[in-house]
C-alpha cells in the first residue's frame, strides 16, 4: 500500500550511539522495515540492528581484481608473444615469470578501482540532494548527533503513531521530513 504524500518520513535525534541503537531495535520490533539511521561515524552493531544483509562491495572488488589480473597477464602475453614478438637470444616469447609484477599491480589496481567505484555506485553517490537535508538540525549528523528516520514508504507508516514511538524511545527534536 503506497500512498502519495509529500512526506519522506519522520526523524528523531539522539546524543549517544547507544541510544540510537536502542531506538532502532525498538522501531524494528514495532514492525517497521523502511528505517534508516544516520551517524557521524560507523556505529558498531547498527547494521545488524537495521537488518542489513551482506553487501555486494566485496564481490565487485573480487570481479575487478580478476579482470585486472587475468586481463593484465594476457595483455602482456598478447603484446610480447603474438603482436610484437622479439627474439632476444632465443629466449621464450611467453616469458611468464617476467609478466608477474605487472599482473600483480593490475590485479590490485582493478580490485581497488572496483571497490571504490562499486561502493559509490551502490550508495548512489554522488547525490547532491536528499530529503533528509531538509531537516534543519540534520547538519549535526556529520558531527555530534545521531538520527533515525522512519520512511513514509513503510507500509505501516502513520505519522502520529511514528511520532509517539519516537517519543517512547526518548528521541529529541522529532521532525517531519518533507519530500521536496
Amino acid at each position: 500500500m503506497h500512498r502519495r504524500s509529500h512526506i519522506y518520513g519522520i526523524m528523531g535525534e539522539f546524543r549517544e550511539p547507544q541510544e540510537l541503537l536502542h531506538a532502532v531495535e525498538k522501531i524494528r520490533e514495532a514492525g517497521y522495515r523502511r528505517v534508516n539511521a544516520y551517524s557521524p561515524f560507523p556505529v558498531e552493531g547498527l547494521s545488524e540492528a537495521l537488518g542489513l544483509k551482506r553487501n555486494m562491495v566485496p564481490f565487485i572488488c573480487l570481479l575487478g581484481g580478476l579482470v585486472g589480473g587475468v586481463g593484465g597477464f594476457f595483455f602482456q602475453y598478447w603484446a610480447a608473444a603474438i603482436t610484437y614478438p622479439q627474439n632476444i637470444g632465443g629466449r621464450p616469447l611467453n616469458s611468464w615469470p617476467a609478466f608477474i609484477p605487472v599482473t600483480f599491480e593490475m590485479t590490485i589496481l582493478g580490485a581497488s578501482l572496483a571497490a571504490v567505484f562499486g561502493m559509490l555506485a551502490l550508495n548512489k553517490l554522488p547525490q547532491p540532494h536528499h530529503p533528509v537535508f531538509n531537516v534543519h538540525r540534520f547538519v549535526h549528523a556529520t558531527s555530534d548527533r545521531f538520527f533515525v528516520c522512519i520512511e513514509a514508504k513503510d507500509p505501516k507508516f502513520h505519522l502520529p503513531e511514528c511520532a509517539r514511538l519516537l517519543e517512547q524511545v526518548h528521541a529529541q527534536h522529532i521532525a517531519e521530513v518533507s519530500d521536496d
Binding site: P42, N55, Y84, A98, P101, S112, A115, G118, M119, T142
Partner: protein, 461 residues
Amino acid sequence: MSASQPPFDSPEIRRLTPVLGPGHTYGSVTDKISSIVLTRPTSLGWYIGFLISFGLTGVLTVAIGWLVTKGVGIWGINIPIGWGFAIVNFVWWIGIGHAGTLISAILFLLNQKWRTSINRFAEAMTLFAVACAGIFPLIHTGRPWMAFYMFPYPSTMGLWPQFRSPLIWDVFAVSTYGTVSLMFWFVGLIPDLATLRDRATEKHMKIIYGMLSMGWRGSARHWHRYQSAYLLLAGLATPLVLSVHTVVSFDFAIAIVPGWHTTVFPPYFVAGAIYSGFAMVLSIAIPLRKAYGLEDFITMRHLDNMAKVMLATGLIVAYGYFFEFFLSLYSGNKFDVFLVNQRLHGPYAPFYYSLILCNILLPQSLWSYKLRHNVPFLFIMSIIVNIGMWLERFVIVVISLTRDFTPSAWGRYTPTVWDWATFIGTIGMFVMLLFLFVRVLPAISIAEMSELVSETSEDGK
C-alpha cells in the same frame, strides 16, 4: 572495528600514555579539527612557510624548464654514471611515501588505535612524496613529453612496451601506487568533507566541500558498504606497498652491476622505505602538533610508537647492510670484493661512513625511553635518518656505477647546481603541498577520532 584489545595493550598502560587526551566529546573533537580549516585565522607563520616553500617550487620549475631547454647534460651525469641524482631522489621520495600507506593500511588491519590521529596526514604525505618521486624518472627520460611511450596504448606504429623490463614494472607499480593511495585517502576524506560542508558558514566553502563530499549524509546503509570498501582497500594496499619498493629494488637487483645484483635488495629496500617514511612522519607531526595545539590528539604515545618503529626498521636496514657486505666478501667474486673496498676506502667513502653513522649508530639512542620522550631530540633524529636514507641511495647508485668492471671505463660523479636545484625544488614542492593541505582539509580524521571518543568513553564505564 573494535575487537578485543591485544594483551600487551592493557588499559593500565593506555591510561599512562593515552592515544587521545582526556575529556573529549564528539563535538569537541569535531570543533577542534574543523576549526583549523574553517574558523582559525591563517597565521603569519603559515604565510611565511608557504611563501618559502612556494619560492622553492619556483626553483623546481626553473630547473625543469632549463632541463627541457638544454637536455639532461645540465646535470652531472655522464657515462658511466647515467643515473645520478634523478634516481637517488626518486628512490628516496618513493620510500618516504611508504610509511603513509603502512600507517593507514597495515596498522588499520592490525587494529592499532594509535594510527587514527596520524593516518590522514601520513596518507597526504604519501601522495605528495609519490608526486615528487614521479617527477624524477619522467624528466630523466630526457624527453618527458614522450613519457606516454611507457604506457601500453595502441600506437600507429604497432609498438608495445617491453614488459620484461623492470623499468616498465616501475611504471606500473608507481602509477598503481599513486592511484590506490589517492583513492584510499579520498575515501577516508568523504565523511570529513561532509562534516566541513555542514559546519562551514561561508557559502563558497559550503559549495566546494559539498561537491567534494558528493552528498554524503552518514546513512547507516552507506556506512555499511563504506566500511567494506575501506577494509578491502586496506587489505589491497598492504601487499601493494610491499610490492612497490620491491619493484624499485628490482631496477637495481635485476642488473648485473656489482653491489646491485643481490637477493637481499627487496626486503631491505622495503624496510628502508618504512624507516625513512616514519622519520618523515615524525618530521611533519612534531611541528604540526605544536603549531596547531594538537598535543591531545597526537600524543607522546604516538611519537614514542613511531620512534620504536623507526628503531625496529632501522635494525632491519642494518641487517641488510651487514649482509650486503658479508655476501660480497663471501661470494669471492672479485668485482664484489672490490666494491666493498671502494665503499670503505674509495673516493666516496665519507658518504658511506656518514650513512652508517646516520642510519645505524645514532638511531640506537632511541632505545632510551627518556630520549624517545624528548620531542626536540626526536625531531632532530628524524631529520638525521632522512639524511641517512638519502645517503644510502647515493652510495648504492653512485659507488657501483663509478667503478665497475673495466678501469678504463671508470668515472666520477659530481652533481651540478641544477641537480641540487631540482632536488631542493622537490622538497619545496612537498612542503608547499603540505602547507596547503593542512589549511584546506582536515589533517586528522574527524570521523575516526569521534569513533575513538565513543570507544574510549565505553571503556571508562
